[in-house]
């Protein structure tokens, strides 16, 4: 390794707003804060132009357009969203962070030249519905250029990009977050950011559970999202909520790609090994039911001997199949058709076997888990805001972009309220953070990050996965505590591995928060998401959110009443 530990170059950046995470939410947050006339630093461990879950594109853009029908109104959306989230999301949030912005956001993307109107004949949107929506909320669009286009807009507006910087910890001064530290994953340089407001936007949490192909990076959403925001915010004292709800979906067998939304949105069926459409047994809307219903149904069909299960598109008219094959599947996941070709599946005439994906923390609409924020995207710690899939707001791509914009604007308001605050950090804290960042590079022997990570996935899959009990949760917490003790022995042989070690640190913390929440919540909800065999139904006393936060060394749990419309 050419990098010299004895002489690490340092960079100290002072800015108004620091945004951690350069995906769709973070980039919009940075752009929005910059529009308010502030200095903004946008930091990501990848290249930003194609960072995040939407790096290679997206095909669905959730929108309320008020086009006439009753379902296409804010009121109808709110009713549906309340039902979908079962009161576990604050209902003051959607109006503020999403509904008030979405029409303008769609118009903005059209101004930028993103193809939103796939119906060329009528110059109109093609919209489809899924997951229990009262109407067709998803604009089918070609989002392959979306991320680089929005990134270029942010750069043009004067947002300063810091690429390939892995942020490891937030900095605090007197109870207020004042920035963050990290390192350059290619050069090794140490970075300190001091900021008047900090926005975390690192997305969902993956790589916590095994999948059927035993390929941890073959995940539903980005495998490079590892709970950095949730872990850093928690360590800084912020409240997280409902961490016990782990999300599953249906994906093509052994290839954990998004596809379900496109397939059921276009009228595709899900059938079992007997050729039956079975989902109506589990939900009155069948394939049009909430997402959790589909893995739940497949789980029981397979368990009771009626597997395997499949996507069945053979009944779709040619026009619908063409739309799926040309406009949706390869846009949602760029390599989807490569997979079909290499597997030898022709969706026009073959069934496509499905699997239940590995579990992950949210990245989609209706998620109730993550960093607790106010409608202004503020966390419970002063100076710290959260946006996108790491926060409990409105998920999905369009949600993330609108919530990102909200966070950027609100962080700016926060700064303008008291422009005299000068972000500082004690020198001793910086020295300690620097030491902790690089220490895995100095270790000899010990474990490699993947040894602990594999064990973590084994524990989570066995005890905190599908089907949970009190005894299982206690076992998981014991095993995770053992891994926590081993963590100081994990070594990195180069800077890339050093990044993975820091990801492991955050995943270990998030795993414990999930297990602790799952132990506490003595009920079942959202299908496989939290299925306690010892409490198999939803219980009145648990019709509430569960918050966790750190006070000193102690984790404090509290129940928060559900939100009503």
């Amino acid at each position: 390794m050419s990098f010299n530990l004895a002489n690490i170059p340092e960079h100290h950046i002072t800015t108004d707003v620091l945004v951690i995470g350069g995906g769709s939410a973070g980039t919009m947050a940075a752009l929005a804060a910059r529009r308010q006339g502030l200095e903004v630093a946008l930091v990501d461990k990848a290249g930003i132009d194609r960072s995040g879950c939407g790096c290679a594109g997206n095909d669905h853009f959730l929108a309320i357009l008020e086009s006439g029908p009753e379902w296409d109104t804010k009121e109808a959306f709110l009713k549906w969203y309340h039902r979908l989230t079962q009161g576990l999301v604050d209902m003051a949030i959607p109006e503020k962070v999403f509904l008030s912005r979405i029409k303008r956001m769609v118009a903005y993307l059209e101004e930028l030249g993103i193809p939103m109107r796939l119906d060329a004949t009528h110059n109109d949107y093609i919209r489809t519905g899924s997951f229990g929506q009262p109407g067709d909320y998803f604009i089918n669009f070609d989002g392959r250029k979306l991320k680089p286009t929005v990134s270029a807009e942010a750069a043009r507006a004067g947002v300063k990009f810091f690429r390939r910087i892995n942020i490891t910890d937030l900095l605090a001064d007197g109870g207020r977050v004042t920035g963050a530290v990290g390192f350059d994953i290619r050069k090794g340089d140490f970075y300190t950011f001091l900021a008047r407001a900090t926005i975390v936007a690192t997305g969902n949490v993956t790589r916590l559970y095994n999948n059927q192909a035993s390929m941890p990076y073959n995940s539903w959403h980005s495998p490079y999202n590892n709970g950095g925001a949730q872990a850093m915010a928690f360590r800084a004292g912020a409240e997280l909520k409902n961490m016990e709800f782990v999300n599953y979906t249906l994906t093509p067998v052994n290839f954990s790609a998004s596809a379900l939304n496109a397939i059921v949105g276009m009228g595709g069926y899900i059938v079992n090994g007997l050729g039956e459409r079975f989902l109506f047994k589990y939900h009155e809307k069948g394939e049009k039911g909430p997402r959790w219903v589909m893995p739940w149904g497949v789980y029981w069909e397979i368990k009771e001997g009626r597997g395997p299960c499949y996507f069945d598109l053979r009944h779709l008219p040619e026009e619908a199949i063409n739309h799926l094959l040309h406009h949706l599947l390869p846009v949602d996941k760029n390599t989807f058709l490569d997979y079909c070709e290499q597997k030898g599946v022709d969706l026009r005439k073959d069934l496509l076997e499905v699997q239940i994906s590995e579990g992950q923390l949210p990245a989609f609409l209706g998620s109730v888990s993550g960093i607790y924020v106010t409608p202004e995207c503020a966390t419970t710690v002063s100076g710290l805001f959260a946006t996108g899939a790491c926060s409990v707001t409105v998920g999905s791509l369009s949600g993330s972009m609108c919530v990102g914009e909200t966070a950027g604007e609100e962080a700016a308001k926060f700064i303008y309220r008291d422009k005299t605050v000068k972000p500082e950090v004690p020198k001793e804290e910086l020295t300690a953070r620097r030491e902790a960042i690089y220490s895995p590079l100095k270790r000899q022997g010990g474990f490699k990050h993947c040894e602990l990570e594999n064990k973590l996935r084994q524990v989570m899959t066995l005890y905190v996965g599908i089907g949970r009990t009190r005894r299982g949760m206690l076992t998981a917490l014991e095993e995770l505590a053992k891994l926590e003790k081993l963590f100081p022995d994990v070594r990195a042989d180069n800077l890339h591995e050093l990044m993975r070690v820091h990801e492991l640190r955050d995943m270990l913390l998030v795993a414990q928060l999930i297990a602790r929440g799952a132990l506490e919540r003595e009920e079942s909800r959202f299908g496989l998401s939290h299925y306690r065999g010892d409490f198999p139904t939803s219980r009145e006393e648990w019709h509430c959110s569960l918050h966790q936060c750190l006070q000193g060394e102690q984790v404090v749990l509290k129940r928060v009443a559900p939100s009503n419309l």
């Binding site: 790096c55 073959n218 980005s222 290839f255 760029n334 490569d338």
Partner: protein, 66 residues
């Protein structure tokens, strides 16, 4: 394998390295061509291929994922 880059067509622009969200492709300082250093950490997202000006990247799924 995961990502197969046709070196005879590659112009060494480095966009695949720049775009990869997982830090798994690194430009080789000597050859000036991209190396897939961590194929086991590939998400199969196609971000490396999508902007390739020479269209010289193939995504190869391992047997276990088919």
């Amino acid at each position: 394998m995961a990502i197969l880059i046709d070196e005879t067509k590659c112009n060494g622009c480095g966009l695949c390295d720049h775009n990869c969200p997982g830090d798994i492709i690194h430009m080789d300082a000597v050859s000036g061509k991209p190396l897939v250093v961590y194929p086991d950490e590939c998400w199969y997202c196609g971000a490396c291929r999508i902007d390739c000006p020479e269209n010289c990247i193939k995504i190869i799924f391992p047997l276990i994922s088919l």
